[in-house]
């Protein structure tokens, strides 16, 4: 506890530095801005703005604070297009549209937006509090992890991903393997042997992480936008004058608290982020509401508050494994992890001791960011809503301009511009084929770490593969892995059998 308080003290010292304070607020603002643009989710927003933040030449803690602000802001901004346009920016926002959009149709858009802002704020704040409590604890456990434990953790992370994310587990797994394969391109650091470079000098050092991120997410998004252009104009609903009341808050207070907890813990699981969290939270609340839950989906404020609280709290939860283990909890945190690596900061248990200004500075900045977002969002919601009316014909070219700018300002190699285009098409194709891109980016980020730890573990044992099963910790992690693999299908089978039983007497 003492450690937490002194850490927070140090962290606020960093975060309250006037420049860093400006970065938090600027990050939150621009994040909300880009998140509010129709069709652009947090992950695309962070991907597009990452290289620009990188090439500003900031110290690592400031840059990370800026990026985390963008991440948080984009999660906030996403709800604007979900509620007013019925267009979710990413998978995590789908459940916000279910009750948010009907409310807006009833002319209660203002109430929906302000309520979801408060739910997001509470969810985010609870997540940060839990994070400051559990983060150092997890780090102090993780510090004893040896390479084979890390291998077990990676296996766990990828299993969580395959089992919980996406419709088809095999496709998710293949996506992750594609990511790992991309990461294996370039010179092997241990032996100096070039792998899969085909004699192209531009990729000897591997494909730059920024290029992959901008290609898959920025360019891929651009192609998707152009693809959907045909479907006609979107019409944003007016915000109106309605506002959240104390009575509303009294109705949803337990919903928000419960869903914040759910969101946090699902966010902590490696690989599962906002999309799973908001789905589980929505389902749980609907079940708890029982008979009165019949109004879910028609503009129930509980159905709006639940996914929003879970969404934002999972964003905080996903930071925990990223900071303490170096294993990101979601696609977006995978990008943040890649950003840390760009700054030569290796996240992991040692970060809390070696670079406390970054670890705690980031945590403290999240307290401030949350507050800033609430303050920015409540009065400025009308302004953000107006962004939705930016015509696609201007928005689409600007995404390409931002993406090129980002790539060129960091790598300054025209070859990478073509690479980005190619990767963008590849990302679009994958999405079209029903793959989700988060596993791919997770594979890219974790590829090096996974391989290094495997090789290190086998070096320690002299080539005996049984070393992977030697420590008690790895065995516990493998047992958890099996549970994650077995439980969800078992659960859905029991549920469907129960449902079948329930419907039989009714007929």
């Amino acid at each position: 506890m003492n450690e937490v308080l002194s850490g927070l003290y140090q962290g606020f010292g960093v975060a309250l530095d006037p420049m860093n304070l400006i970065y938090v607020i600027f990050g939150c603002f621009s994040g909300t801005l880009i998140g509010a643009l129709p069709g652009i989710g947090p992950i695309n927003g962070v991907a597009i703005l990452l290289p620009i933040a990188y090439s500003l030449g900031l110290p690592p803690e400031s840059a990370l604070i800026l990026l985390a602000g963008i991440y948080y802001g984009a999660e906030y901004g996403g709800r604007v297009s979900s509620i007013l346009l019925n267009v979710p920016g990413d998978a995590g926002a789908v459940f916000t549209t279910l009750d948010g959009n009907p409310m807006a149709k009833k002319g209660e858009a203002g109430r929906a937006l302000s309520l979801s802002a408060i739910a997001s704020f509470v969810g985010g704040t609870i997540a940060v509090i839990l994070m400051s409590l559990f983060g150092p604890l997890l780090a102090s456990v993780a510090i004893h992890f040896n390479p084979s434990d890390y291998v077990a953790l990676m296996v766990f992370a990828f299993t969580c991903l395959a089992s919980l994310v996406g419709k088809n587990p095999v496709k998710t797994l293949l996506g992750a393997i594609i990511g790992l394969m991309i990461a294996s391109i370039g010179i092997d650091a241990n032996t100096g042997v070039a792998r899969f470079t085909f004699g192209i000098p531009d990729i000897l050092a591997g494909i730059d992480f920024l290029v992959i991120v901008i290609g898959l997410f920025g360019m891929g998004e651009l192609i998707t936008l152009v693809e959907h252009q045909i479907t006609g104009r979107l019409k944003a609903l007016p915000v109106g004058k309605s506002f959240v009341s104390m009575k509303d808050l009294a109705v949803v207070k337990w919903t928000i608290l419960r869903c914040s907890m759910i969101g946090f813990f699902i966010g902590v699981l490696p690989g599962t982020g906002a999309s799973v969290a908001s789905a589980v939270a929505y389902g749980t609340e609907k079940r708890i509401a029982g008979k009165s839950g019949a109004t879910f989906g028609t503009g129930d404020i509980r159905g709006l508050a639940a996914p929003e609280a879970a969404n934002n709290s999972s964003a905080g939860g996903a930071m925990v494994p990223m900071l303490t283990l170096g294993i990101p909890g979601s696609g977006t945190t995978a990008i943040l992890l890649g950003a840390l690596l760009l700054f030569n900061v290796t996240p992991g248990p040692l970060m809390f001791q070696q670079r406390p200004e970054i670890a705690w500075g980031l945590i403290a900045s999240m307290y401030i960011g949350n507050l800033a977002l609430l303050v920015i969002n409540l009065p400025l919601v009308g302004f953000f809503a107006r962004l939705l009316t930016i015509p696609q014909k201007y928005l689409t070219p600007l995404i390409a301009v931002l993406a090129f700018m980002g790539v060129y300002s960091v790598v300054s190699n025209p070859f990478d511009l073509y690479m980005v285009i190619g990767l963008g098409f590849f990302g679009w194709l994958l999405r079209k084929m029903g793959f989700s891109l988060a596993p791919v980016i997770l594979g890219v980020v974790l590829g090096g770490l996974f391989e290094d730890n495997l090789r290190r573990a086998l070096s320690i044992s002299g080539g005996d593969w049984m070393v992977l099963l030697e420590s008690g910790r790895s065995i516990v992690i493998y047992i958890l892995t099996v549970l994650i693999l077995v439980l969800p299908p078992l659960y859905s089978r029991i549920k469907s059998r129960k449902a079948a039983k329930d419907t039989v007497p009714a007929e």
């Binding site: 620009i52 792998r195 693809e227 070219p397 060129y408 511009l417």
Partner: protein, 150 residues
């Protein structure tokens, strides 16, 4: 069907990747039990298994793209490639202005709108990012010309 085609292509890639991993990659000397080839070998086997599964049991979600949409995407990719090709020689301002002009025109802006938008995004974009934020962007002909005049 689309799943099967995709699975087959991915399988060919996985086999090619595996072929390289199993035959070509080799360290001249090494001290560790695992060399640079083992990890790609594991990946290629795992990838091939996933592809086989997708080929045997496809999702059934059809790959629905209208040919009209494909043309649009093709045009977009040609435009982007041209933008990339001209990025350094023409410089940020001109290439961006041209790209924004053409793309916004294709997406339905009137000629006047497209010209204004192109000029604005090239000019304001450069001022904002290269001058204000000090990002490294290709200067190209316009800036060099201005430098030469002053």
């Amino acid at each position: 069907m689309a799943d099967r085609i995709f699975g087959c292509i991915a399988l060919v890639i996985a086999i090619g990747y595996g072929y390289i991993a199993f035959t070509i990659i080799e360290a001249p000397f090494q001290y560790d039990p695992l060399g640079p080839e083992t990890w790609p070998q594991i990946l290629s086997v795992a990838a091939a298994l996933c592809c086989l599964y997708i080929i045997i049991r496809p999702d059934g979600d059809g790959f629905k793209v209208l040919s009209k949409t494909l043309v649009r995407i093709g045009v977009l990719i040609v435009l982007l490639s041209a933008y990339a090709y001209l990025y350094e020689p023409l410089g940020f301002i001109l290439s961006t202005a041209l790209f924004c002009l053409v793309l916004s025109r294709i997406l339905g802006a009137s000629i006047l709108q497209a010209v204004l938008f192109g000029a604005a995004s090239g000019g304001i974009g450069y001022l904002l990012c290269a001058v204000l934020l000090d990002l490294n962007l290709p200067q190209g002909v316009i800036i060099k010309l201005l430098r030469g005049l002053s």
